[in-house]
């Protein structure tokens, strides 16, 4: 319990600090102006969301292998949290795109694959609501989760190679890309903050799922035979 409170406190402090840094410490971008500052939260959320889905994938694999309920709890927690971060990405993206590109949405590689990713995990969570039996739900949704995660690089590749007009990546892109040093520091700080927030949310959600399971068990025990 205390560990969870500490993690939560650290996450909140870091997110507030990241917000301060992205508004007051990072220099203003030359062409885009103040709207560019959304980038620190936008990309930070994108990376945190992607990593949450990675956690979900690992939990799915572990469930199929070990069949322990805790991996199922971790899987659903990570998927939900990843979905929240991806939703943030899909909302902050258009807010940035409208003034900069002049349009809310374009079918470019990263936008589209993020959207497909979002859809895949919505299906994953929907599937879970439609299977009654606990063990069956855990197993079937784990296998679907594995299929969904394997699909991600394929979706990205397909759209990137055959649906063009993508702007080249700024981070870890080719020559000519990259960030001004202060921006870079603020950026990686935001990424760190978002990861703490993600970890905190997953831990909380996991505890909730565990409690739900325990209540179920108690209920079944209390029922007259």
């Amino acid at each position: 319990m205390t560990k969870r409170i500490i993690l939560g406190a650290v996450a909140i402090v870091l997110v507030i600090a990241a917000a301060y840094a992205s508004f007051y410490i990072a220099p203003e971008e030359r062409t885009m102006g103040v709207i560019q500052r959304i980038f620190y939260f936008h990309v930070g959320s994108a990376w945190a969301g992607m990593d949450a889905f990675l956690v979900c994938f690992i939990a799915n694999l572990l469930y199929v292998w070990k069949r322990a309920a805790k991996y199922d709890w971790l899987g659903v927690s990570a998927a939900e949290v990843g979905l929240v971060f991806t939703t943030v990405v899909l909302i902050t993206g258009p807010i940035w795109a409208k003034p900069v590109w002049g349009i809310w949405w374009t079918w470019d590689a990263r936008l589209t694959s993020t959207f497909v990713l979002w859809l895949l995990y919505v299906s994953y969570l929907l599937l879970r609501t439609l299977i009654e039996e606990q063990d069956r739900r855990a197993l079937l949704s784990s296998v679907f989760g594995i299929f969904a995660f394997l699909d991600v690089p394929l979706v990205f590749g397909a759209i990137r190679w055959w649906r063009t007009q993508h702007p080249s990546p700024v981070i870890m892109g080719g020559p000519g890309s990259g960030l001004e040093p202060t921006m870079r520091k603020v950026f990686f700080f935001s990424v760190l903050a978002m990861h703490f927030l993600m970890a905190f949310l997953i831990v909380e959600r996991y505890a909730l799922e565990k409690m739900k399971y325990e209540v179920d068990v108690l209920k079944r025990e209390a029922e007259p035979q």
């Binding site: 599937l127 296998v143 679907f144």
Partner: protein, 224 residues
């Protein structure tokens, strides 16, 4: 060796079941036809536009049709309570998937081959010059659809709302197939046809990735 003979026996069973009634094939052909006609009503394309958008619409129709066609794949076994005897009959449950996915690929290909001439007529696209490449793309695309679809129909058969659930699970997963097959087909049917080998390679990779995943994880989908 066992896997192959089991698969062959089960494939025979799948084909016999279908060709006795031909329900699936007839329904799917009519369905694709309806969708193609509705598409042209919805956008009323010019000759140039139908050349450009036709292949994409064709693939979309195939995807929709597949998501309906794959529905009874495992549902039928479940309704007739034959899944557990199937599992007992084979030494490797992968044989069940393999037989079903081969059968589904064949059914899909058959409907596509029946649809192609009608597509060519309605959308004014000459298909004959590049037919062999087109068939290759249709085969690789249908194989991918069947691999993923067979696995997911085993999942959806065990859930509530399965009729809605299967397309919902299947269609987002098949985005790569749609994007690549439509692009490769469009460039084949262009005025100056090009064979996009990279796209064909991509389809092979997609099929291999999910065939391996099905081989590794498929058996868990059939657990009682």
């Amino acid at each position: 060796m066992n896997l192959l003979s089991d698969t062959a026996t089960l494939l025979g069973k799948e084909l016999r079941t279908e060709f006795r009634s031909r329900e699936l094939l007839t329904t799917t052909v009519v369905f694709i036809l309806v969708v193609l006609i509705l598409f042209s009503f919805a956008i009323s394309p010019t000759a140039e536009e139908s050349r450009e958008f036709g292949p994409g619409l064709l693939w979309l129709a195939i995807l929709f049709a597949a998501s309906l066609m794959l529905q009874p794949c495992f549902l039928r076994e479940q309704m007739n309570d034959t899944l557990s005897s199937l599992r007992l009959a084979v030494s490797d449950p992968f044989a069940i998937f393999l037989a079903k996915l081969i059968a589904n690929t064949l059914f899909l290909l058959l409907t596509e081959v029946l649809m192609l001439p009608l597509f060519a007529v309605f959308y004014n696209v000459p298909i004959l010059p590049q037919l062999h490449y087109l068939l290759l793309v249709l085969f690789l695309g249908s194989l991918g659809i069947s691999i993923v679809g067979t696995a997911l129909s085993a999942i959806s058969a065990q859930a509530r709302m399965r009729e809605l659930l299967l397309p919902l699970l299947l269609l987002p997963l098949l985005t790569p197939i749609l994007v690549v097959s439509a692009t490769v087909s469009a460039s084949l049917l262009d005025r100056e046809p090009v064979v996009l080998w990279k796209g064909i390679g991509f389809l092979v990779v997609f099929d291999l990735v999910f065939l391996t995943a099905l081989w590794l994880f498929g058996e868990y989908l059939l657990e009682e």
